[in-house]
């Protein structure tokens, strides 16, 4: 199929392009336009941040933490601007090599770089922090509120500084206070803080009590994944977070509305319609997404793409029956034999957890469950596996995108 035919098909559906993507759009405004649901979480976090209260947003991979943060910051900017007040909102998409030391360095660099225009001393500090650089820097100003989205990466420069490592924390406290003086209010949001799965959020919080407790006009917004009850109790007892939002799976109605919102971003006029999906197909997609926006997006993107290629005027159940196996096959073929085997064992055992049997580990060719974690995370990032958290810990189960080898197929499970 040529690109022209593909585009023509999308146009027949009234779409300028395939709107679905694996991650939320970069632009805060676009995310806010698509976002739906979690009204209560948004309201409580908004007020808390405005009043200088720290917010913790937690939830599993793909549950919509980034979308919630971006929507929240977009609304915060708009509403504070309407109040004709001033504020600096810093959004960091991640902390490179997340550790407590890098957390301080990253914040200090982001802050002093932003303040370089107002203060020569701030510029001096920013220039002295080598080994890390700001790669993307987008500023949006509305009234007296600057919303700055930063992406920091490590560079090849040696990680050195004129400031002693031990003094960086004190410097950070100093420049945060200065920033409050310049900007009035300050909100710092850090996304994907626990990407590496270490208990980094807890470590940072416990080592940085004055950072989070001082300053009436500054607030932090952090993300985290699962916490045990005891960790929750520890975090609560520190009294650092005025809002601790644990994101649950989204309802089917919310997911349906998100699909409509996505479609409307590429329609000439917004309409309340799920076209080109039929209600039956969308119900099936929503069922397969299991309350996870990321899975929803991933499936919609693939289905729309395949349906356009196969020129279905409408994505109904007949089309679905043909499209879905192709999508599943496509996912599997991209995997290494080792990952295919891991996925198959996860399917056979109805999930993999720390209690995996030694026989299963032998089949996968691993010594420990810990050894499997990076691969399970890789499969999770490909939407082929979902992490289910419960009171006992977490369990990785194959998503509906996984097509297991047919039971009557003699090669089932003997993937080399």
């Amino acid at each position: 199929m040529s690109l022209i035919d593909y585009k023509k098909m999308l146009e027949e559906w009234g779409l300028q392009e395939n709107p679905f993507d694996f991650t939320p759009p970069d632009e805060f405004e676009q995310v806010a336009a698509i976002f739906h649901g979690r009204k209560q979480e948004l309201e409580s976090a908004l007020i808390s941040l405005y009043e200088g209260g720290n917010v913790l947003i937690r939830g599993t991979w793909g549950i919509g933490k980034t979308a919630l943060i971006k929507t929240l910051l977009y609304q915060l900017q708009k509403e504070v601007a309407e109040l004709k007040e001033e504020m600096l909102v810093l959004y960091l998409d991640e902390i490179p090599n997340a550790s407590t030391a890098n957390f301080y360095r990253t914040l200090l660099l982001a802050l002093t770089q932003q303040m370089s225009r107002q203060s020569a001393d701030a510029k001096k500090v920013a220039d002295s922090l080598t080994g890390m650089a700001i790669q993307n820097n987008k500023t949006k100003t509305e009234g007296g509120v600057n919303l700055l989205a930063l992406s920091l990466k490590f560079t090849n420069e040696p990680n050195s500084s004129e400031i002693r490592e031990a003094d960086i924390y004190q410097q950070l406290l100093f420049w945060l206070k200065e920033a409050e003086g310049i900007y009035g209010k300050l909100v710092i949001a850090i996304d994907d803080l626990d990407k590496k799965e270490t208990p980094i959020v807890q470590e940072i919080v416990e080592n940085s009590l004055s950072l989070f407790r001082q300053g009436k006009n500054r607030a932090f917004l952090l993300t985290g994944r699962g916490f045990t009850d005891l960790q929750n109790a520890t975090l609560s007892s520190l009294g650092i977070f005025s809002e601790d939002l644990n994101l649950r799976r989204m309802s089917n109605d919310d997911l349906r509305q998100i699909v409509i919102n996505y479609l409307n971003t590429v329609r000439k006029e917004p309409i309340n319609s799920i076209t080109p999906f039929t209600p039956e197909v969308l119900d099936r997609i929503i069922e397969y997404a299991q309350g996870t926006p990321r899975q929803l997006n991933s499936i919609c993107k693939k289905v729309l793409h395949q349906a356009a290629r196969q020129k279905y005027p409408l994505i109904d159940m007949a089309a679905w029956q043909n499209i879905w196996p192709v999508i599943q096959e496509d996912f599997i073929q991209k995997l290494s034999p080792h990952l295919q085997r891991l996925l198959y064992i996860a399917y056979k055992q109805k999930g993999i957890s720390e209690d995996i049997s030694n026989e299963s580990l032998d089949e996968i060719g691993a010594l420990t469950f810990t050894e499997l974690l990076p691969e399970l995370r890789e499969l999770e990032s490909m939407d082929l596996i979902m992490r289910i958290e419960d009171a006992r810990g977490f369990r990785f189960i194959p998503s509906k995108l996984y097509l297991p080898p047919a039971e009557n197929n003699p090669s089932a499970g003997s993937i080399n």
């Binding site: 208990p199 005891l230 010594l367 420990t368 469950f369 810990t370 050894e371």
Partner: protein, 246 residues
């Protein structure tokens, strides 16, 4: 030969070198309670050890052996011994790189982690050492014993720092590895630590099983101290009455 030394007699350099080789085996054994032997070994190593420029490997071995003895030294101020141990381990690392001497390097990481905890109560540094060791050892899988020890120490650090979910995973994996190595003593030690953690986390059924398994091992081994400490934990299990323990 060591008898000559103990009696203060002269020993020729060849004999000393032979003693030094033998010390390696002794160093791997538990020297606790052998104060005199520890002091003797320190003397021997200091006399026999090579200069760095003459033989970097022999020099590193000297630092490594001294560090190992000082980490368990009975005589002297414990804090000073720990400092010396750390100093010698760090010196050994100048030669013992992860690529060329994985076992020695990984063992030093474990020891530095233990010293960070015992001397500085610094779990963050300890976790850094252990994670570095874990990454190298798990990529290689050539020394399961060291991998098991590393995971056990990591589990204990995570337990202490409140990262209980991770602690549980690492305890369970280290049990697997010690079972594979057929080391029942270590399996019992980790199982008991896991039971303690599960009790703290509220997984009472799991805690009951693990504590009971460890208890039975120690009862067979006749280890009164361990039996007592496990029975103390078992009292926190709701339906575990004092009669049952008795």
């Amino acid at each position: 030969m060591s008898g000559n030394l103990l009696r203060g007699e002269t020993v020729n350099p060849t004999e000393l070198m032979a003693i030094l080789d033998k010390t390696e085996k002794l160093l791997k054994d538990d020297l606790t309670g052998l104060e005199f032997e520890q002091e003797l070994l320190i003397e021997i190593i200091l006399i026999c050890g090579k200069q760095k420029q003459d033989s970097p490997n022999q020099w590193a071995k000297k630092q490594y052996n001294l560090a190992n003895i000082y980490s368990r030294r009975i005589k002297g101020d414990p804090s000073e011994n720990a400092k010396k141990s750390t100093k010698y381990y760090l010196a050994a690392l100048q030669v013992y790189t992860a690529d060329e001497f994985l076992d020695e390097w990984a063992f030093i990481q474990i020891q530095l982690a233990r010293l960070s905890i015992s001397q500085l109560r610094n779990y963050r540094i300890a976790i850094e050492h252990l994670q570095a060791a874990y990454e190298k050892l798990s990529a290689n899988n050539s020394n399961i014993d060291l991998l098991a020890q590393t995971m056990f120490e990591l589990a204990r650090c995570f337990h202490q720092t409140g990262a209980l979910g991770y602690s549980k995973i690492y305890f369970k994996d280290s049990i697997r590895l010690f079972q594979k190595l057929d080391k029942p003593l270590q399996v019992a030690a980790v199982t008991s630590a896991l039971g303690n953690l599960e009790l703290q986390m509220g997984y009472l059924d799991d805690a009951r099983i693990h504590l009971q398994t460890a208890l039975e091992f120690y009862q067979n081994a006749g280890n009164a101290d361990r039996i007592k400490s496990i029975q103390e934990l078992q009292q926190y299990l709701p339906e575990f009455s004092k009669e049952q323990i008795a």
